[in-house]
């Protein structure tokens, strides 16, 4: 079936197809270009190559079980997606999250933001030919991911932020690893500034290319670093502060012209601000209860004993559950019994614990928010990441909609590349940070 551009193209022009698997681009998106020589007269962007049925699938999962699907939306910053979804549900339920958990959430989402910006700029630079920058940024990202892995147990798909708090407390060595990651990232940012800021090739391809006016940006629904690059001050963390962002000291970097270079620069500066936030949050984080001395009886022995008597000794959990022992629960999870997974120690050793656990996961039970709908947004890597959930009082959402920031940004691609050269598509597309999982859902 002919597409719009095939029908409308002038007979003397050439149609060129970029994507969905193109050597000079990343992600799965198809751009049809109508070319007059090197000039782009018109274009048509086709999305949907990564439509995985996220929203429909969520209607069949319980509120607790659909968390892993949110990891895979913007897969470069999964923790922010977790946060957005979880805070939406919390808003519906009215859960109060402990202070320490709030600090951990801020720490983790800022680290995620850094990894998101690093990846976006790395890909953009690589496609412009700056392969060194790509390698440097990937190096920094590995150090950030070391912190994330140590805390959450996974590198990417973490499912760490849970309804009511976080899954596990920070590791005892957290400060050491964090310090290293921050220092390494700072170094890499400095190197990258040195490599790109005055680089003639990079400037030629980005300066004054694909300029977006603030009015158009707002009209398209742009948010995040792309909107701020045009000079509009809108950051969900400042406009509608959540968690502890209003208590920390940080700035919102703004661009002036709204071209590719500004989008690059705003992202770079934002990473510096994120590092500032991370350091402050790490310094202010409330102290936890003292670490339990290692040991305790084996779960299997505890289960055996629990048939005869009430087990009062500490139960050694498997290393996978490190950080989520029962005595840490007050620090990291809300006290509401119905919204959080009961501690494993109780599940293993007492009949009430087992029943609680069973009821939490049983079909038709578990988390059941009141009837109604709710919208909540957090500042994602690309902008305002909003979740809209309609609840009909059962244990699964009646409808879940995601406001994906990069959907609105990619919508403006056709306008931005009109009249430009073919080569300008690459940095323009790169600076938008198109993430398939979020765009196509």
């Amino acid at each position: 079936m002919p597409t719009r551009i095939q029908k409308e193209a002038r007979p003397d022009t050439m149609l060129l197809n970029m994507g969905p698997s193109h050597p000079a681009m990343h992600g799965t998106i198809r751009i049809m270009l109508e070319l007059d020589g090197e000039r782009i007269l018109n274009s048509e962007v086709e999305v949907g190559y990564l439509h995985r049925g996220f929203e429909k699938t969520c209607e069949h999962r319980t509120y607790f079980n659909l968390l892993p699907y949110t990891d895979r939306l913007n897969y470069v910053s999964p923790l922010i997606n977790n946060l957005g979804y979880v805070m939406t549900v919390e808003k519906m339920l009215g859960v109060v999250v402990p202070e320490r958990a709030q600090h951990i959430r801020v720490l983790m989402s800022e680290l995620s933001r850094i990894s998101d910006h690093l990846t976006c700029l790395a890909a953009m630079a690589m496609e412009c030919g700056a392969f060194t920058v790509f390698l440097y940024k990937m190096k920094a990202r590995e150090f950030i991911w070391d912190v994330i892995e140590q805390t959450t147990g996974a590198r990417m798909t973490t499912s760490y932020i849970r309804i009511g708090g976080v899954r596990a407390d920070l590791h005892t060595d957290f400060d050491v690893v964090l310090k290293k990651a921050v220092a390494e990232t700072r170094g890499v940012l400095k190197d990258v500034h040195g490599l790109l800021d005055k680089n003639k090739i990079f400037l030629n391809r980005t300066r004054d290319v694909a300029v977006m006016s603030p009015e158009d940006a707002v009209a398209y629904g742009w948010t995040g670093p792309c909107l701020r690059s045009t000079g509009v001050l809108y950051d969900v963390r400042k406009a509608f502060p959540y968690l502890i962002y209003d208590r920390l000291n940080w700035d919102v970097p703004l661009g002036e012209r709204g071209d590719n270079f500004d989008r690059y620069l705003v992202r770079m500066r934002e990473m510096e601000q994120s590092l500032r936030i991370v350091e402050q949050a790490a310094a202010r984080i409330p102290k936890t209860s003292p670490a339990l001395t290692a040991g305790g009886i084996e779960p299997s022995a505890a289960i055996r004993d629990s048939r005869r008597r009430r087990v009062r000794e500490a139960v050694a959990l498997s290393p996978n559950l490190e950080g989520s022992e029962e005595y840490r629960y007050p620090d990291i999870l809300a006290s509401d019994k119905g919204y959080v997974v009961p501690p494993k120690e109780e599940t293993y050793t007492s009949i009430e614990g087992l029943i609680n656990h069973f009821k939490f996961f049983m079909r038709g039970h578990g988390i059941r928010p009141p009837k109604g709908d709710v919208y909540f947004a957090v500042e994602g890597g690309n902008g305002e990441l909003g979740f809209y959930i309609v609840s009909d009082g059962t244990d699964r959402p009646y409808r879940l909609h995601l406001r994906a920031p990069c959907f609105h940004i990619v919508a403006a691609l056709e306008q931005l590349i009109r009249g430009r050269y073919v080569a300008d598509v690459i940095p323009t597309f790169g600076s938008m940070n198109m993430i398939g999982g979020e765009l196509d859902r």
Binding site: Y49, G53, L135, M156
Partner: protein
């Protein structure tokens, strides 16, 4: 230092003992050559691509195992890495890319989505790429850690080494 240099120069003059040769079969020689010169084409669609990047970059460095050269054109590559979810909309594209590759070619299913559809058991996702193209190695994980990827690569190399190789003037028995 002087002594060593003298020693070395004397060594250099020594001629190699006669008869330094190895015996092998052409098949395994070809397998040996092929397994260490895998040019790969990453067909990156989704989240697993992030781990592919990690595996390819400095920390894990897939280059150590002879698969460092990423070619972004199917016509220049031997190994197709299918990284990420393949939806029904994407499937014809993947098939085309596979058919554009020249022989000999190997396919790696990278991540649970490519292996079996993964957590997306729904209307949109192809339940495993082996429904559309033949697969040589399955690397599980959602996403697989870079170590798993490297392990998968080693397994593929082993497979290539022991495979019946194809070459132009080979006598066909069929």
């Amino acid at each position: 230092m002087g002594v060593t240099e003298k020693h070395m120069s004397r060594d250099k003059k020594k001629r190699p003992p006669a008869g330094q040769f190895i015996t092998t079969q052409f098949n395994s020689l070809l397998g040996w050559a092929r397994k260490f010169s895998l040019f790969h084409y990453p067909f990156v669609t989704a989240c697993c691509g992030m781990e592919y990047m990690s595996a390819a970059c400095a920390h894990f460095d897939i280059d150590r195992f002879g698969a460092g050269w990423t070619r972004f054109s199917p016509r220049q590559s031997d190994m197709l890495l299918v990284v990420g979810t393949i939806t029904h909309k994407e499937a014809p594209v993947l098939r085309t890319v596979y058919e554009q590759m020249t022989e000999p070619k190997w396919v790696v299913a990278f991540g649970t989505c490519a292996v079996s559809g993964g957590i997306y058991d729904n209307y949109a996702v192809v339940q495993g790429i082996d429904r559309i193209i033949p697969v040589d190695i399955y690397i599980p994980g959602c996403p697989p850690r870079p170590e798993t990827v490297l392990d998968g690569l080693l397994k593929l190399q082993e497979k290539i080494q022991h495979q019946d190789q194809d070459w132009r003037w080979k006598k066909r028995t069929y």
